[in-house]
Symmetry: C2
Subunit: 513 residues, 2 copies
């Protein structure tokens, strides 16, 4: 990739600033897009006849700003996660035509990092991205058979508009599944099929959020939710989370329209909302009139004991909006999720869905409806539940062997855990970066896609999404994690931060799960 | 269907008002949904021990308000097209819990009728709904084969997130197709795949429209576009349309961000934008900085002469945003469309698409990408172009035989025509209603899904979407149209409105296409 720079030899304009500024601008206006490989510092130095150090300094500046990253064996490329102000352009730059039409994207994203989940990692790499399912478990042959079956009969459904709320058989299947497994006795006419939770959140934001609307979110929480609500003008009210879930004693009492929560397996901290707090949360909703948005994203994977009833199922039937997705049990490429609303809200939700896109493609819905018929889906869930649990047990076994008692949170269900690191390992961000250099991608709270407002977890914890990994990958990764932690601990010790010798002591603080 | 009413025998509250009010409320809050069949007036009268006249009057009131409709041989049901204020509820009604969360849907829809395109018509019915393709022409066996092929290899694409802008092969196929057939030499990285034009419009609205943003629309124009822009706060500037398309001499000079136009085949009037006005429109865009949004919704069907180049292809490459859809050439159930943007806008558009739903389902995209490979799609287009043209010719032949010279507009391309009715036929709305009673569904400008601000076409014209019909359906429909027009003309004559005898004179005014 050649980059066309226009460098001036004006001594008042340092070359490294010119290079950094121009490349940053290319990234900001979209000429250089996420993932684009940049020339090496040597190549760029030769091309523009500047010293290699000049280019290196320019690259370092862009790296520190989050615009580019350097991957071992790959080179330098534009980051997949666009920095905060990247969308804050106010119109196309350097064009001679008048600019009457200002791009509103900065308003939409209000200075927030947008996490784009598709990432191409260098191989070999072991990726602990949270919430990613294992492709080997996808029921491909069943899918293929169902696709063939639903396409066998008639083209009518492909040609005509369908119900914007979704294919009736699919909505019935969803209502059946949620009633049976989550104790929420809902009916098909309460279900709206969407292209996944992100669309579900947009739908709710369009229904409820205007400038200044109060929205409670957990702190930390799923970033896509917080940023979506904020993009519609919400006044976010982040409420702290501990090992029993959201701190219901800290809920604000007034002027809140929605409270977005993940009671089954808090994202990202992994905690399950305790019974007392469930009751407190529902009571708060009844008292204040705020709707609870229950995102039950990975509720299908429960590894011990009785699954907790959904909040919606425990509620009065008028207070909880329930979000589900097939991205976790099947895959994100299926792009299908759903919202289940109290009946009084269904009319407005249907209208918003219609106005947004007239509904979801028929074929995907028809296949999925077939998959939900009978016990195929239940059998599939049992299969992957066992596979995920096996991987999780291996992860716990290996990490415990190397680190002793570890503070792993969220091991009772879901597809990821949060590991509160032993103090001697040092800050999570540096640990993550060192592991990445070794081909193991773990995530901090924020790099894992969470919104965080000084919750304290960002520095102390990493997220390990294990569901997509094989046992042997977990074994390999655990070895590298132990080695890097050891080296990190030694570095910390030599700089006086923390003695490596205190390792066992700091480990003993935590109970194993 | 039983309706539970709570009727009081208070003489100050007429029973017919109580009945109408309660049913209207059920419809407004969504307990009675579009298409729901209501009890007959006789049944309801028996159930509540009131006179049948009372129920009939209540039903007539609801009918006049647009909440219900009566179909011959079917009975009374809730209308599919929800009346203006139907979404204007400001929260769930009659619930005892406090209401902190106000539904914003009335803001989103700002008092506009929402046309939901899926309608179940009584059989036998001949439906001239504009823009509906013929299901018999769907390439079902090819679709089935391609589905099987793309599902044969790997589940990775179903499991992982893909590029939010769309599957690369599909975007390449779209860029190739548009370059070849519309003279717009675009590349895959300018293409964003959406769930159809409605989503494309939402995407652009999110990018450009805030409260008060000036948006030019044609008057009349596609209602989905006008209402979408308005729902984001746009200040709509409707500009009149005549037989050469949008009146460029009436374009406002300042403070316009977007101009939404349909130059190939104006919706709904059918006109093609003349060469002079194309140039004038582009010059206006260069001068004011407003972006042109070119909705080329049915450009693939051209029946005579050389297709006009797209506006995007004639532009400087920085001024036109191009919208395309597969809903017309394939079907709405495929739910796939696209936006092609100048490069400077691509970054922001990708970000908005990501934030909206992380992209379109993979399977539909993969099948379509296969369909666009080689010349399969071109052969399909040739086939249906011929079929649509045959139907159109039959329609013109039959109507001309009965009505003499007729003012049919938009016969050079597309899937519908606008028929400016001979004056003696009377108002379009009544003609439409009488035809509907005979099982022939034609559409006025507004019932056909158009936005209209006193354009004058609403009373004079009807829309005939012919593409979905067989020749024999056209023959049957034309007979009924002639018979009903004759009767209508006689009624008009007897009430003194217009002499039936002037029929030939009024016809002679217009040139046949």
């Amino acid at each position: 990739m050649l980059i066309e720079l226009s460098l001036s030899r004006d001594p008042n304009k340092p070359l490294q600033h010119q290079i950094a500024n121009q490349i940053r601008e290319f990234i900001r206006v979209g000429h250089l897009r996420p993932g684009t490989k940049l020339p090496s510092s040597r190549e760029l130095a030769v091309q523009y006849d500047v010293s290699r150090n000049t280019v290196t300094h320019a690259y370092e500046k862009l790296f520190s700003e989050g615009y580019i990253e350097t991957l071992k064996g790959i080179g330098t490329k534009v980051t997949d996660v666009i920095p905060d102000d990247c969308n804050a352009m106010d119109g196309p730059k350097d064009v001679s035509r008048p600019v009457a039409a200002a791009i509103r994207a900065p308003v939409v994203f209000k200075g927030h990092t947008l996490t784009i989940p598709n990432r191409s990692l260098p191989k070999p790499a072991i990726d602990f991205w949270p919430g990613r399912p294992n492709r080997d478990n996808f029921p491909l042959s069943t899918w293929r058979r169902l696709a063939d079956e639903v396409l066998a009969s008639s083209a009518a459904k492909l040609v005509e508009y369908g119900d914007p709320a979704g294919v009736p058989e699919l909505r019935e299947g969803i209502a059946r599944h949620v009633s049976a497994t989550r104790g929420y006795h809902c009916t098909a006419d309460m279900v709206i099929v969407t292209a996944g939770t992100q669309e579900s959140l947009n739908l709710l934001a369009k229904m409820f959020v205007a400038n200044g609307t109060g929205v409670v979110v957990e702190n930390p929480c799923y970033g896509g939710a917080a940023h979506t609500f904020e993009s519609y003008g919400a006044r976010l009210c982040p409420v702290a989370v501990d090992i029993e879930g959201i701190r219901t004693d800290l809920l604000p009492d007034d002027h809140i329209s929605l409270a977005y929560v993940t009671p089954s397996h808090q994202f990202p901290t992994g905690s399950a909302l305790s019974s007392e707090r469930r009751k407190a949360l529902l009571d708060w909703s009844y008292r204040t009139g705020a709707y609870i948005v229950e995102d039950d994203y990975d509720c299908d994977f429960n590894y011990g004991g009785r699954p907790l009833l959904s909040l919606a199922g425990a509620s009065d039937g008028e207070s909880v909006i329930y979000l589900g997705t097939f991205s976790k049990a099947l895959g994100a490429g299926v792009r299908t999720g759903y919202v289940i609303l109290p009946l009084a809200l269904v009319g407005a939700a249907r209208a918003v869905k219609t106005m947004s896109n007239y509904g979801h493609p028929w074929l995907d819905q028809a296949i999925l409806a077939g998959f939900l018929r009978g016990d195929t889906y239940q059998r599939h869930l049992r299969l992957i539940r066992k596979a995920y649990f096996d991987t999780l047990k291996e992860l716990i076994r290996r990490l415990s062997a190397d680190f002793g008692n570890i503070d792993l949170r969220g091991t009772q269900n879901g597809m990821h855990v949060m590991w509160v690191l032993p103090e001697w390992v040092g800050p999570a961000q540096i640990f993550k970066q060192r592991l990445q250099d070794e081909g193991v991608y773990v995530h901090t709270i924020s790099s894992g896609g969470a919104f965080d407002r000084a919750s304290g977890y960002e520095e102390s914890s990493i997220l390990l999404g294990y569901a997509a990994l094989s046992k042997s990958e977990v074994v390999t990764a655990a070895k590298i994690i132990a080695r890097v932690a050891e080296a990190n601990g030694n570095v910390s010790a030599s700089t006086g931060d923390r003695s490596h010798l205190s390792r066992r002591q700091s480990l003993a603080i935590f109970e194993s799960p």
